[in-house]
């Protein structure tokens, strides 16, 4: 077998292991080890294993992950989601479909201090659902808007998946966060627009909510000051280079902890629960990172990504066609796979391909542009059937709503996602303008 064939066999075997319920990290390590040994023998691998795990975990840039996860846990307990939803509702609630728009707005606000989509969806659901029910929104629109809104957590910085992508392609985390902001805001506006178009055809699905006057609006907006403060300090500080992303994450975790204690009544027991929950997610992510190391060492040794690049450039496919093919592969994988695992599994193969093609962008710009597109497409997987994790979270919070109904409700938002990906592909400036402006 040539090394290219060994690599392809390895990828095939990996997919089989994944389908057989083998944890993603375990499958990557097993295949990485098997492939490495068949190409180079045991000795170098055993030597590599002496310190590789330590050097992978002892990484200052990656310390940001446990800190962001802690921050998300504390933010979820600080009662901030209620304030955000209320504020958005005073501005949007009187419109047709307005309460659903407010749910999306609340998710966007929460996404600005939380790096995880599932946490965003899970904290916004118990706040927004009762209100949506009170105004008799259709189950499909109510749960669909929340499931889609939850995905804003991943895109609007801070974002754990963006950190992972930046690490995988050795991009600058700061510029990645800068590049994500405009697409994130566009996503929120896109969802709101989707709702307003939807209720034009189905007015009974999203009735008008309560109207608020100016004082009520101002008061509700003032209640969200903790979120505004944390976001400005953390993200502003990172954007303008006042501190490193890891320092920003530490400050954010500390700040949200203060609000969780003050406004959310967090005590020692709750603190331990937050820490342990963050610890489990941290271990899960870092074990996959370790697996990705073994897997990509094997891939690099086989020269498969490089051969693939030559193959694709020789095939005469246009760069755009290749990019669209990759987007389609991501959409398909997203139907069954977790977003983090998907990024780590595919980037070692796809990034060299993209980097080898001419899109008329500098390598640094290309990293940002492709990264934002990849993260959006991966995040779409959170709301596509059959395994949309966000849909599961919202559905379990909304008692008595059929899963089918939530998936139907999500469809218009999926369309909005596809349009946005198209926009980003056609106009790289959407993601690249802000980093250019700031640097």
């Amino acid at each position: 077998m040539s090394s290219f064939e060994i690599a392809l066999t390895g990828i095939g075997a990996l997919l089989i292991l994944l389908a057989l319920r083998v944890p993603v990290a375990v499958a990557m390590i097993v295949i990485g080890v098997g492939g490495y040994v068949s190409l180079a023998g045991w000795a170098p691998l055993l030597n590599y294993a002496k310190t590789s795990a330590y050097w992978r975990f002892a990484n200052y840039d990656l310390s940001i992950i446990p800190m962001f996860l802690l921050m998300s846990q504390f933010a979820a307990r600080a009662g901030l989601s209620r304030a955000l939803f209320k504020a958005a509702n005073t501005y949007l609630g009187h419109r047709r479909g307005g309460v659903a728009m407010a749910a999306v707005g609340g998710c966007a606000g929460f996404g600005a201090i939380c790096g995880s989509s599932l946490a965003t969806a899970a904290t916004m659901a118990p706040v927004a659902l009762p209100e949506l029910r009170r105004f008799q929104y259709s189950d499909a629109l109510a749960t669909g808007a929340l499931a889609a809104g939850g995905t804003l957590g991943i895109l609007i910085p801070p974002s754990v998946v963006l950190v992972i992508y930046a690490m995988a392609v050795e991009a600058n985390i700061v510029t990645m966060f800068q590049a994500a902001l405009v697409p994130g805001i566009l996503a929120a506006l896109g969802y709101i627009l989707t709702i307003s178009i939807y209720v034009r055809f189905r007015p009974e699905a999203g009735p008008v909510g309560a109207r608020s006057d100016r004082t009520q609006r101002r008061r509700a907006l003032a209640e969200t000051w903790p979120v505004i403060t944390i976001f400005s300090v953390v993200i502003g500080g990172i954007y303008f280079g006042v501190f490193t992303p890891t320092e920003g994450a530490a400050a954010g975790a500390f700040g949200t902890l203060l609000f969780a204690v003050w406004k959310g009544g967090l005590r020692l027991q709750g603190f331990v629960e937050c820490a342990v929950a963050a610890a489990i997610s941290t271990a899960m992510i870092f074990l996959i990172l370790l697996g990705a190391d073994f897997f990509s060492v094997f891939l690099a040794l086989s020269h498969m990504p490089a051969d693939l690049v030559t193959f694709i450039t020789d095939s005469g496919l246009s760069p755009m066609a290749v990019l669209i093919l990759i987007v389609v592969i991501y959409l398909l994988l997203g139907m069954v796979m977790d977003s983090l695992a998907m990024i780590l599994l595919t980037v070692p193969i796809f990034w060299p391909v993209i980097a080898g093609l001419d899109f008329g962008l500098s390598p640094a710009d290309l990293k940002m542009w492709f990264g934002i597109i990849a993260v959006i497409v991966v995040e779409v997987g959170l709301i596509t059937p059959p395994v949309g994790l966000n849909v599961f979270v919202i559905n379990s919070a909304a008692k008595g709503v059929k899963m089918r109904e939530t998936f139907v409700g999500v469809l218009p938002f999926l369309a909005s996602d596809i349009v946005r990906v198209g926009l980003l592909i056609a106009f790289p400036a959407v993601s690249l303008a802000l980093p250019r402006l700031l640097n």
Partner: protein
């Protein structure tokens, strides 16, 4: 990352011991991570207020992160925290699913054991060669006892869950 199936606490002495041990590891790891976070915040404040950040805070944060991540691993496995794609086999009889979980648990156990063994050697190498971090000069081997202990505990926990799963599958 947020919704996990509830894990039933074991009632047998071995299971109870492993669960509590893994929980103690998580608590120690969380304390280390909390300390790293607090240190980073103090370092920022120190830099702003007194123009003196904590010396070598980058290195301490990196080592602290490594130590806590290792300490988190066994508990994560026991709480079924590792990502699994269960779509394709959701139709399969529970017995078959439990069997496969047993096999993959055993595989993770072997990985934990081999890593513990290799990291033991890696740590003693670091000790012998006197490898230290660049700025504060902290000996790197300090992190390895935690890493080796966590790898070993992970292997034991996997052995336990794999045995349980296979017993269930073949009962």
């Amino acid at each position: 990352m947020f919704e996990r199936e509830k894990v039933i606490q074991p009632t047998d002495p071995i299971g109870r011991t492993l669960f509590s041990l893994a929980y103690v590891f998580v608590l120690i790891g969380s304390a280390v991570m909390a300390a790293v976070t607090l240190m980073t915040v103090i370092s920022i404040l120190g830099r702003w207020l007194f123009l003196s950040p904590i010396y070598g805070d980058f290195e301490l944060a990196a080592i602290g992160t490594a130590v806590s991540v290792f300490l988190f691993l066994p508990y994560c496995h026991l709480q079924k925290g590792n990502v699994v794609i269960d779509l394709f086999l959701s139709w399969a009889p529970p017995r078959a699913q439990v069997f496969l979980d047993g096999v993959s648990g055993a595989a993770l156990g072997v990985i934990g054991a081999v890593l513990a063994w290799r990291m033991y050697l890696g740590g003693t190498d670091m000790l012998r060669l006197g490898d230290v971090t660049t700025i504060v000069g902290m000996p790197i081997w300090y992190a390895f006892p935690f890493a080796v202990a966590s790898g070993a505990l992970l292997a034991l926990c996997c052995l336990y869950t794999a045995t349980k799963n296979l017993q269930t599958a073949f009962r």
